[in-house]
């Protein structure tokens, strides 16, 4: 088992974003590897940004556990293309955490910035705080967002959560913002709280809203009541702007009439 502790150093110009896609468990297997990060237009060594401590040995990514301490809210792309092992982030994390991840676990004890788990394929992300916009979504112009794995957000999510969702599962325990699951194709999006305008242009997949869906879109057909885990919900099919192959279950909904 290898434990890596990365403690963020005090920064000059602390608001400038840092891109650190080199932080994945697999990369720490190679003792010779150099770790470069970018702060603005300057390429730096990992040790310019973090106090790095490494204990133990590992043969595979699964045996590596990385802990990020201190203010990491401006550090982007942590865990990008991660395929196994574990990353624990003790506070907030910057944008694009877990981009394209295919295996392993990322646990965020604070909040996550936008594009959490963008186009993720597998593995698991747990965010104990809130996630900003575009959790589990796709890149600009991309047809498919998240395709597999699980994102679980214990707090609230911002707008466009699960935009172009194409597989896997997103569970939001708090509220979601506007347009969760817009252009969803497949996969499952669960919102325990409220949201507005879920699943515009839905082409497939499933969305469950256990709170109130405000400004429910008029192009979903009410298919009557049913139950999920003893909770009475209304089933809708849609979106009839396209072929109506998706399903939304909502406990309450309100239209903008």
């Amino acid at each position: 088992m290898m434990r890596v502790i990365l403690e963020v150093k005090e920064q000059l110009k602390p608001n400038l974003p840092i891109e650190a896609e080199c932080i994945t468990p697999k990369n720490f297997l190679d003792p010779e590897r150099e770790f470069h990060v970018w702060k603005g237009n300057k390429e730096l060594d990992l040790t310019d940004i973090f106090h790095v401590r490494k204990d133990g040995n590992a043969k595979s990514a699964e045996q590596v556990e990385i802990t990020i301490r201190g203010d990491s809210s401006h550090i982007k792309r942590v865990g990008e293309y991660m395929d196994g092992g574990k990353i624990i982030i003790e506070h907030d994390i910057g944008m694009h955490c877990g981009n394209f991840m295919s295996g392993g676990l990322i646990e965020i004890r604070g909040n996550a910035d936008s594009w959490l788990g963008r186009e993720m394929h597998g593995g698991k992300i747990i965010c104990h705080g809130n996630a900003m916009d575009y959790a589990g979504s796709g890149y600009r112009g991309e047809k498919k967002g998240m395709r597999g794995g699980l994102i679980e957000i214990m707090g609230n999510a911002g707008d466009f959560a699960g935009e172009t969702l194409a597989g896997g599962e997103i569970i939001i325990h708090g509220n979601a913002g506007d347009m969760p699951g817009v252009d969803i194709k497949d996969g499952r999006l669960t919102i325990m709280g409220d949201c507005s305008r879920p699943c515009g242009n839905m082409a497939g997949g499933e969305c469950r809203v256990f709170g109130t869906a405000y400004d429910m879109l008029p192009t979903f057909r009410n298919e009557g009541p049913t139950t999920i885990d003893d909770v009475t919900v209304t089933r809708f099919s849609g979106d009839y702007t396209s072929r109506g192959l998706g399903t939304i279950y909502v406990v309450n909904c309100k239209y903008m009439d």
Binding site: G141, T219, F220, T241
Partner: protein
């Protein structure tokens, strides 16, 4: 007195190219064919005489040489410079800006990100069924203005291209061309419409979805009223669109900046796509600044991306919401800024303006603006279309040569930017 014909108006995205200017003693004294806002620009005063620099909180006059050296120092010192504006200058200057951004490792963004950025995001998702304004003028028998008020913002749009224009392939265009206006409030434009659809704020997406469902014969589930619009009117409008010969949908920031932003535009594009199964229909964003479209063209052909291009790591990266000027400024993610031909202090949210105040800022602009008050350095330049010339793109993507009317001692944007760029190359040994 001298009269010059067929000049291009450098104010709005219509780029009217039939303006007549009257020149007396090397100054423009009157205009003809121009609308009131274009006229005000041609006759504009308030130009800064020479470069100014803020020293201990006070403005001092400096020479162009000093100004250029100061600009170079500020930009080369930065770890994440932001080069913003660009919609108020010509394409040649925009090219120099992109080159400069590449060697600086900065972020270059145009005012697109606060007007039609969402339109471009939507176009990147589902394409752009567009056409030139000439096609609209000569063929379209149905015009939709969605979330825009051309009578105020593009005053000659209706007389040159739509409602009041003759159409080569239309009989009695003025009478037979129908106009639909969609907006959240009554406007001067809605008052002259054949059909006015008044939507509750934030209801655009639902209304577009409903129209699409009706077109597909799935209108049965649509409730009697959608975001303030009756089902009867929705059915009637869908029918008007389906049965026209050539429809043209124009839309403005009322759609792009309403809740849902680019997904509204995507829905509008898909509505137009659906209509193309029945008839010919096109869509055109009503671009505001005269050369904001040019900024998108230049950045696209040089970097692959139309705006918000981040070169910090030496290669182009694009992600509106992350690399757009408003987001960078609000999050305080830049440490120097250069503004070219734009006035962000007048339009940006408070948090962004604060950041502009707190970091070194260079302004390249002919006029004193709100942004001047926050700057550390301003370099005055010639005005394209008055005493400088260059290329600009009309809102439908047609490039036009913007000529100059008079000579002056002011350098053009291209000259100033090239001088800054050349010194940077020298310092960097490139």
């Amino acid at each position: 007195m001298q009269e010059i014909k067929d000049m291009v108006c450098p104010f709005c995205g219509c780029l009217c190219d039939d303006v007549t200017l009257e020149i007396e003693n090397g100054e423009i004294v009157a205009t003809d064919n121009c609308c009131a806002i274009g006229n005000a620009k041609f006759l504009g005063k308030n130009r800064l005489k020479n470069p100014i620099k803020k020293v201990d909180g006070k403005w001092v006059d400096i020479t162009y040489d000093e100004a250029i050296d100061t600009a170079v120092d500020i930009l080369l010192d930065a770890d994440r410079p932001l080069l913003f504006g660009w919609s108020g200058t010509h394409g040649e200057a925009q090219c120099v800006g992109v080159h400069m951004n590449e060697i600086l490792g900065g972020v270059i963004d145009s005012t697109t990100s606060v007007c039609h950025g969402p339109s471009i995001l939507a176009i990147q998702e589902v394409g752009h069924p567009g056409c030139t304004l000439g096609q609209v003028k000569n063929r379209a028998d149905l015009i939709i203005y969605w979330g825009c008020n051309p009578i105020e913002a593009h005053p000659r749009h209706m007389s040159r291209y739509t409602t009041y224009a003759d159409g080569y392939f239309l009989d009695n265009a003025f009478r037979n061309r129908k106009v639909i206006v969609v907006d959240v409030r009554e406007t001067e434009t809605s008052n002259v419409a054949d059909e006015f659809i008044r939507i509750k704020p934030g209801g655009d997406y639902a209304v577009l979805s409903s129209l699409r469902a009706i077109l597909r014969g799935k209108g049965d589930m649509i409730p009697d009223s959608v975001a303030g619009v009756t089902k009867t009117q929705l059915i009637q409008v869908a029918e008007m669109c389906k049965t026209c010969k050539f429809g043209a949908l124009f839309f403005g920031v009322g759609l792009t900046m309403a809740k849902g932003k680019y997904k509204n535009v995507r829905n509008a594009i898909e509505f137009v796509d659906d209509l193309n199964r029945h008839t010919k229909f096109t869509l055109t964003p009503m671009r505001g600044h005269w050369n904001v479209y040019g900024a998108n063209e230049v950045m696209s052909w040089m970097t692959g991306y139309p705006y918000a291009v981040d070169f910090c790591r030496g290669v182009a990266f694009y992600n509106p919401g992350e690399t757009t000027a408003v987001d960078i400024l609000a999050r305080k993610e830049c440490d120097a800024c250069m503004i070219v031909g734009s006035d962000p202090a007048a339009h940006f949210p408070h948090s962004c303006v604060e950041q502009l105040r707190d970091i070194p800022m260079i302004v390249i602009d002919p006029f004193q603006t709100m942004t001047t008050t926050l700057a550390d350095l301003q370099i005055p330049v010639a005005v394209t279309g008055i005493d400088a010339e260059g290329t600009a793109y009309r809102m439908d993507g047609v490039p036009l040569k913007v000529k100059k009317a008079i000579d002056s001692d002011y350098p053009s944007d291209t000259e100033i930017l090239t001088r800054i760029y050349d010194i940077m190359l020298e310092v960097k040994g490139l």
